[in-house]
Symmetry: C2
Subunit: 195 residues, 2 copies
DNA sequence: GAGTTCACTCTACAGCGGTTGACCTTTGCT
DNA sequence: AGCAAAGGTCAACCGCTGTAGAGTGAACTC
């Protein structure tokens, strides 16, 4: 493809096509999941030959690994006091998915995390356990580990309902509404079990 | 297959092999998702020729439709007072997934609900919206619809973390521990927002 | 300005997987 | 017994998809 821009250095060309391929791949993986996206479709969308995709990323697995990613969680998740955790976690979720590139990468990971072994491992060990650890560190009292795990599960359920399944009331809600409804819920997890 | 039982009527034979195929299919779909399970594998596991599967269920989609299902929710979900909803919902979830056949059918549906169009539709429109409606009917106050939707999202997140992704602290917890940790959380959603 | 390198394309292979139609074999009816 | 029907098998087709290898033309080097 390479629009009619002139005088592109070789490396510049390479970077552009590589970026184009990656963008198409992210979109395809985020939309259709790993199994349903074909190298050919990605290549066509990027205006490129299928074989070129292989040359750049080695294999479909390699392309997926480069496309599906979970950006670092915000520092606020790690440093927040228990009382501030709910807000920090929701902010982290919202900003992560609204980011244009990172959002699709995150969606691509989630989309396949129930059916693709590597995506499942990343989701379980990296995303969920990191989340859990961050929350658990701030918790006290009994069931701290389980409460942290449930915290992570809730965030995952919300993300999937809002961005992947697109369940009506959740995917249409504004950020404010979500804060209003979800934060009290998370607070019930984070606060030491009253009584 | 057809173990060495004697004198089976034709219809009886048919029922048995059909049941064997369905059991294998449920297991395969629940374990690997729609795209990764092959008719051939299902047939082999059931000790049957692949073509027979087609004859019984018409197509892979038909087999999936027969395998992935979401049993009716317990009446308690529909008749519970708001204060009892959390317990009813958790009981519904736990008993649904521990049921030997229904559990795999439910897992099969969830496993593919992010990547298979029909499964996604069923999950969104039937499961989530029914759940939401049941909860919403019991709620009052502002954001009732959204709170009901978030309620459904939380249940989905828990199910996936526990039965599909198998995230450590959540999948190892006993029913009692889950009740102890999750119910207060749901109560925060169900109770009218205490200003 | 000639040769090399590198991005890129074309063509083809090989395997898999859903699906089909012809065939066999046992059951049930008369 | 004999015929029809239904459960079940076998072999094959056909399209798709990941992947590999040879080739091409433009960009860089000297």
């Amino acid at each position: 493809m390479t629009t009619e821009g002139e005088h592109l250095t070789r490396e510049e060309r390479r970077r552009r096509t590589e970026a184009a391929i990656l963008a198409s791949a992210r979109h395809a993986f985020a939309t259709s999941g790993f199994e349903r996206t074909t190298i050919r479709a990605v290549a066509a969308d990027a205006g490129v030959d299928p074989a070129l995709v292989m040359q750049h990323y080695g294999s479909k697995e390699g392309l997926f690994a480069a496309s599906a990613a979970w950006a670092e969680q915000h520092e606020s998740m790690l440093t927040a006091a228990p009382a501030d955790l709910p807000r920090a976690a929701l902010d982290d979720l919202l900003s992560r998915f609204e980011d244009p590139a990172g959002g699709e990468a995150a969606i691509a990971l989630m989309r396949s995390c129930l059916t693709h072994p590597v995506a499942a491992r990343v989701m379980r060990d990296d995303v969920m356990c990191d989340r859990k650890a961050a929350v658990e560190a701030a918790l006290e009292g009994p069931d701290a580990a389980l409460r942290a795990g449930v915290f992570a599960a809730v965030m995952m359920g919300l993300s999937m309902a809002r961005y992947l399944l697109e369940v009506p009331p959740v995917c249409d809600a504004t950020a404010e509404e979500l804060h209003r409804v979800v934060e009290p819920l998370l607070r019930a997890l984070v606060e030491p079990p009253t009584a």
